[in-house]
């Protein structure tokens, strides 16, 4: 599983900026079958958090209604340089972590 945190290139300290999160994950609903007719077990990322310097900015509980490869974009305003930390867990207990440095000069 891979993930990306995309920050705008033109960013200013203390100004709102759009942060985009993208995680590669099938988000299997449990309602689908493969070509041989076997049911595909439900496996979705059920919880996801985005932190900045240890502070939680976003907490999402996702369901089967979220599309495969979950994408999220929202506005963030930070007061210092630091690091974004994205953490997620899926139904199989697989955890993922992605970091992105956000430096203001």
């Amino acid at each position: 599983m891979t993930a990306r945190i995309v920050l705008p290139i033109a960013r200013k300290l203390g100004e709102p900026m759009d942060v985009r999160i993208l995680i590669q994950h099938p988000m299997d609903t449990g309602f689908m079958h493969d070509v041989s007719g076997a049911a595909i077990e439900k496996n979705v990322i059920h919880s996801l958090t985005l932190e900045f310097n240890g502070e939680e900015l976003l907490n999402a509980e996702l369901g089967t209604g979220t599309a495969a490869n979950p994408f999220m974009q929202f506005q963030v305003r930070v007061k210092e340089s630091g690091e974004f930390l994205l953490k997620w867990v899926d139904d199989k207990g697989q955890m993922g972590v992605e970091r992105a440095k956000c430096i203001f000069t």
Partner: protein, 131 residues
């Protein structure tokens, strides 16, 4: 004066009650943008925004996206930290056919606000290789 949102089905009314703990959901403040026509239900872009500056004194605590026709109505639930920004969230959802989508937001004063939008979906997300 804020008006309470009307919910079409009894089943949905019960779900609303459970999610909002019986509180009235008011119209206004929450905005939902979805395409009028989505060719494919597998991935439909959706944007929710709330008229609220996310200050410490007034912010959205919780944001819920619901679907009327999906087998599991709860699409996603979000919680935000107030950061003095406009509350806006874009994501992509899966839809099982044409339906109404709901967005509900709870502010820090415990009031609920919501809106809905209609989407026509040509191909449902609940079709697989066996069909």
């Amino acid at each position: 004066m804020a008006q309470a949102l009307e919910v079409e089905s009894e089943e949905f009314r019960l779900l609303f009650q459970e999610l909002t703990q019986g509180q009235v959901v008011n119209e206004q403040r929450v905005h939902l943008s979805v395409p009028r026509l989505a060719d494919n239900g597998h991935s439909v872009p959706l944007r929710v925004w709330v008229d609220c500056v996310q200050s410490d004194s007034e912010h959205v605590k919780r944001l819920i996206v619901l679907s009327c026709r999906n087998p599991r109505p709860l699409i996603a639930r979000f919680q935000f930290k107030p950061m003095q920004t406009q509350l806006s969230l874009s994501t992509r959802v899966r839809l099982n056919g044409s339906q109404r989508i709901w967005a509900l937001a709870q502010l820090n004063d415990e009031t609920w606000w919501g809106t809905h939008a209609q989407v026509e979906v040509t191909e449902s997300a609940c079709l697989d290789a066996t069909l």
